[in-house]
């Protein structure tokens, strides 16, 4: 981005947003900051789910449109495990593992045989998402499931300046998202497998030529990506709720996050998640009937001026 463009965007975005912020704080400071926190915690969930999506996409050019279904699957599994054992951490682990296992199965049983056929792989994930969604509806039913937060995170956090109280669980999501982001960054940048994944993103053929078993790397990445969706599902089962249709919502969120942030980039996913989460909650708080329009305007603006996303690079 040239310097002129930076100035242009700075002038186009900063004054209106700061005017809105000043007006919002002056009008109702409590609402403003609670909305900000809600937005950031929602962004944390979006980031966890979308980072898996972007990881798989970046390495395999596989747009996994069944990602939302894996999210819902993880959520249900977490719900059942938490109900049986009462341990939230165990539920998180179970959600991650089951979704990762299903993802691994998908990669090993199906996608391995259609390497390089992007469009066909995407079609298959659409078919899978229909089937998984219907199986879940069959097995679990259409009623709303809401998981309660674990005991040590239940209830509100009191005596915060300005907003007086805020849900402990939602507050905890903020550091959780950051921790997962940092871990993912460390994994991708500081470990051997991460190095292979990054090399695969840049040049699949060359990675194979250096003697790395690419199929194994692919399978591992797919498992981690799917697992992150399941992990997000367990978190979302408490923060939002689980009902058929949530899969589509999170799929849409993941899509927009990676389109806005740039596909295949974990940092881009974080940026996109913050933009989407904050825009969505402010939209819902200040202009309820048109909140989705904000999301859409952001999408259009990014596509019109940065077709590969804010941090995206040429594929």
């Amino acid at each position: 981005m040239s310097r002129l463009q930076k100035w242009f965007w700075g002038l186009a975005l900063v004054p209106p947003l700061s005017v809105f912020a000043v007006w919002g704080i002056w009008d109702n400071a409590k609402l403003f900051f609670i909305t900000l926190l809600n937005g950031l915690t929602l962004a944390s969930l979006y980031f966890i789910v979308a980072s898996g999506f972007t990881l798989v996409f970046g390495l395999m050019r596989n747009v996994n449109l069944a990602h939302g279904s894996l999210y819902l699957l993880g959520g249900y599994v977490g719900y059942i495990v938490a109900e049986k054992t009462g341990l939230f951490v165990l539920a998180l682990a179970a959600g991650f593992l089951v979704a990762a296992l299903v993802g691994l199965l998908m990669q090993v049983a199906i996608f391995r045989f259609m390497q390089g056929e992007d469009l066909r792989q995407t079609m298959v994930t659409i078919g899978l998402s229909i089937v998984i969604a219907d199986l879940l509806l069959w097995g679990i039913g259409a009623q709303v499931h809401q998981m309660s937060a674990p005991g040590w995170l239940a209830g509100p956090l009191r005596d915060i300046p300005l907003i007086t109280a805020y849900s402990k669980y939602r507050m905890a999501l903020l550091p959780l998202g950051i921790i997962i982001g940092v871990l993912l960054w460390l994994f991708l940048n500081r470990t051997r497998v991460g190095m292979m994944i990054r090399a695969g993103v840049d040049d699949r053929g060359m990675l194979a030529a250096t003697g790395v078993n690419v199929n194994l790397v692919f399978a591992a990445t797919f498992a981690i990506g799917a697992g992150l969706a399941g992990f997000g599902g367990v978190i979302g089962a408490v923060e939002l709720s689980m009902v058929p249709g949530e899969d589509v919502r999170l799929l849409l969120a993941s899509l927009i996050v990676v389109i806005v942030g740039g596909m295949g980039s974990v940092v881009g996913a974080a940026l996109g998640a913050v933009i989407l989460g904050v825009a969505e909650t402010y939209g819902l708080a200040y202009a309820p009937t048109y909140s989705v329009v904000f999301t859409f305007v952001i999408l259009v603006m990014v596509l019109a001026f940065r077709p590969r996303g804010i941090l995206g690079q040429a594929a």
């Binding site: 066909r120 078919g127 229909i130 589509v248 048109y290 989705v292 596509l303």
Partner: protein
């Protein structure tokens, strides 16, 4: 398409070439007449005769539920085949375009919601609905042609789902969750188009119109250029074609087809709700197009017939609630084992028993 045909087509379109002056074109063979390239075969007469005679011996239920519904759905799916099979752009937002047409029809025309509908007569409301929906389709195209392949799927899906949420959340214009009920076909020249048989013939006329429009455009220089862009955009760009403009124009044509289909489908249902533009319907249109095969404009209609038959009858065999499982499974099987859909299966059968005729010309489709 064979190399010779391709050259012919390129030469026919050479008026568009910016470097036409530099290129010295070889003397062209005379283009064959349309009827010689496209002889009317027995199967064409048979299909047309069957379609025309269908309401005579079928019950009103079959005429309306099966005949009219599959033709209307086929028309919407045709717009996707046109884009996906021949333009290489798989757009999931075609049902959104159809839904916009339906919503505009309800907003400008008459519906059960007298407070929100303007109640204009059909001959104003229908053209307005079609024009607006075509413009929306073009705008979606303008947005998504910046991307390619799988990116297009992602962006059109995002646009489609965003429109669904807009319909769900907006009560001031689009009536939110309720949508618009009782959006009925009008009575024209004393013929009540709500009756099964007149409605069937209306849909049949539109479907035939859409089919032949698609066939005509695909043989016109524009259509050939579009297929060239599908196969190799960079080369077409180097030849002086404006790739983006061709793609947006393709979206506009597809938008028109989808808009007409959307008006018909709304009349068929008698209502338009957020559910009619929800994800399941966005994907159903893709399922129909892929099921039939994206290599020929007849594919979406075949796919629609199979889809509607499955929807109507197959669920009697298993649990009524499990339709999605059946259709998802069938879709998966088709994508996994016959990427060119039922037409691909037919072609595979034909190549086993060669008879000399060439059925499928274009390459491409879903790969």
């Amino acid at each position: 398409m064979s190399a010779a045909e391709w050259r012919n087509a390129m030469n026919a379109g050479s008026g568009r070439l910016a470097m036409g002056k530099v290129l010295v074109l070889p003397p062209q063979e005379k283009t064959e007449s349309w009827t010689r390239k496209n002889p009317i075969r027995a199967r064409h007469v048979l299909v047309l005769g069957f379609l025309l005679a269908f309401p005579m011996y079928a019950t009103p239920f079959l005429t309306y539920q099966i005949g009219a519904q599959s033709l209307a759905l086929g028309l919407i799916a045709l717009s996707l085949t046109f884009l996906g099979g021949y333009g290489g752009m798989v757009s999931l937002a075609q049902m959104t375009v159809a839904g916009v047409a339906g919503y505009m029809l309800a907003v400008f025309g008459a519906s059960g919601e007298a407070a929100l509908s303007l109640g204009w007569s059909w001959w104003i409301a229908v053209p307005i609905a079609i024009v607006i929906a075509t413009l929306v389709g073009t705008a979606i195209g303008w947005l998504s042609v910046r991307t390619e392949g799988i990116y297009t799927i992602m962006i059109t899906l995002a646009v489609g789902v965003a429109f669904y949420y807009l319909c769900l959340q907006n009560y001031s214009v689009l009536n939110g969750f309720q949508g618009f009920q009782r959006v009925y076909a009008p009575t024209v020249l004393g013929i009540n188009l709500r009756e099964p048989v007149p409605f069937y013939f209306l849909v049949l006329a539109c479907a035939l119109g859409g089919y032949f429009l698609a066939k005509y455009i695909l043989r016109a220089p524009f259509g050939i250029a579009m297929q060239g862009i599908r196969d190799n955009p960079r080369r077409m760009n180097a030849l002086g074609f404006h790739v983006m403009a061709h793609r947006v124009a393709a979206y506009a044509v597809a938008g028109l087809i989808a808009a007409v289909g959307g008006v018909l489908f709304t009349w068929y249902n008698g209502l338009v709700t957020p559910g009619s533009v929800g994800t399941s319907w966005l994907i159903n249109i893709l399922v129909i197009a892929v099921l039939g095969g994206m290599r020929h404009p007849i594919g979406p209609f075949i796919g629609a017939i199979v889809f509607v038959l499955l929807q109507t009858f197959a669920i009697d065999l298993i649990d009524r609630e499990r339709f999605n499982l059946v259709i998802g499974g069938v879709f998966l099987a088709i994508v996994l084992f016959s990427p060119d859909g039922l037409l691909g299966l037919w072609a595979a059968l034909k190549s086993r028993f060669p008879s000399g005729s060439k059925f499928l010309t274009p390459r491409g489709g879903i790969r």
